[in-house]
Symmetry: C2
Subunit: 214 residues, 2 copies
């Protein structure tokens, strides 16, 4: 009889969803995956809202600590706080690098994610073409990529958003940077950012994580 893993991930293969298996692969943690079916609005069912009042994916339940947690960036932070004691994929609590990591993680979730998401909506999903909205969000996605380009240009320690190794910031930013051609954004206009993107995607655990929820 198979034994359940301590970690259970409720998710789907979205720009946010894929971030969690990428980190779980890097941390070498086994987990059970339950795909949430958007076509039946499963994420708004009562049983799921008990786990995640926002009714969105991903949610992680860790029976070894008793923690149930939603919101992608919070899950990334929780997992490294709990399982990255050697700080291979994060920076130590209270250090200057930790607060750079937190600042850029918040930037990723407060601006990169929502703005790229709105660009996707007005490019693909909206029932009418609204040039003003497409231009607004396309312009802002490019501005945001320019901020990442500036951050990378200032980091003399390596091609990472913070410090000399990959961290949850790189994973967070990757999720929304992986498919920008779909929204007519050419990442090659940002030379450091496009190099960074290729180097992060070349990591075997990242490759594995990127397709783990398909």
């Amino acid at each position: 009889m198979s034994t359940a893993n301590a970690i259970k991930l409720y998710a789907a293969a979205t720009p946010n969803g894929i971030k969690i298996p990428i980190l779980l692969e890097l941390l070498g943690l086994k987990y059970d995956y339950q795909k949430i079916n958007f076509s039946t609005n499963e994420q708004k069912e009562d049983w799921y809202l008990k786990l995640n009042p926002n009714g969105r994916i991903p949610t992680l339940v860790d029976s070894s600590t008793g923690v149930t947690i939603g919101q992608t960036a919070a899950i990334l932070q929780y997992l490294t706080d709990t399982y990255d004691k050697d700080h291979k994929f994060s920076y130590k609590f209270g250090t200057k690098e930790y607060y750079k990591q937190l600042e850029y993680l918040i930037f990723s979730v407060a601006e990169q994610g929502p703005i790229t998401g709105q660009l996707g909506h007005f490019t693909f999903a909206a029932p009418e073409k609204i040039p003003y909205a497409i231009n607004r969000y396309s312009t802002d996605v490019k501005r945001i990529l320019g901020v990442f380009e500036l951050i990378l240009s200032r980091n003399k320690e390596g091609l990472f958003l913070v410090g000399n190794h990959i961290s949850i910031v790189d994973i967070s930013v990757l999720g929304w940077a992986n498919n920008l051609a779909r929204v007519n954004i050419d990442v090659n206009e940002f030379s450091l950012f496009s190099k960074w993107l290729e180097s992060i995607k070349a990591i075997p655990e990242v490759q594995k994580g990127l397709t783990a929820l398909n």
Copy 2:
């Protein structure tokens, strides 16, 4: 001769800006305030981008720790990590309450802030009236307020988003909940949320912080 305070805040009186003086007042911390002039695009000047590559407010510089940090939620977390050792306005690192605080803080910055911001843009700033966009963001702001209503209804410890006292989550959510009538949202449709809002705003330090940047 007056001595500069250790903490310097670069900000302006916006829904994000006001969150920082509210917390600083609660923590009883003195600070110097430099208003950033949006009308001259001061937030995009080189000297400011050195402090904050995103070119947005607020930014906090703490000369007593050497930390310079941007992004509102990151600043709130930094200040309580550093100055709220008794956990009067935050929850202890690693506890279940800490991760609820983090989850809802991320929800506030990843959804409440950007979506309310977009509603404001399409209500006031956009050069053309686009009913589709106004309806889209108005509907989502109401959905988000419904999530806060659900969170409040589940908390049996008090009228707070987490636990039995005010925390950085309440401060974060307040910043964007304070002026919803301006975007034609009636918070009274959400009974617990509107009670919560009144009770948080009644705290003297919150009142002082709300107008500190004017």
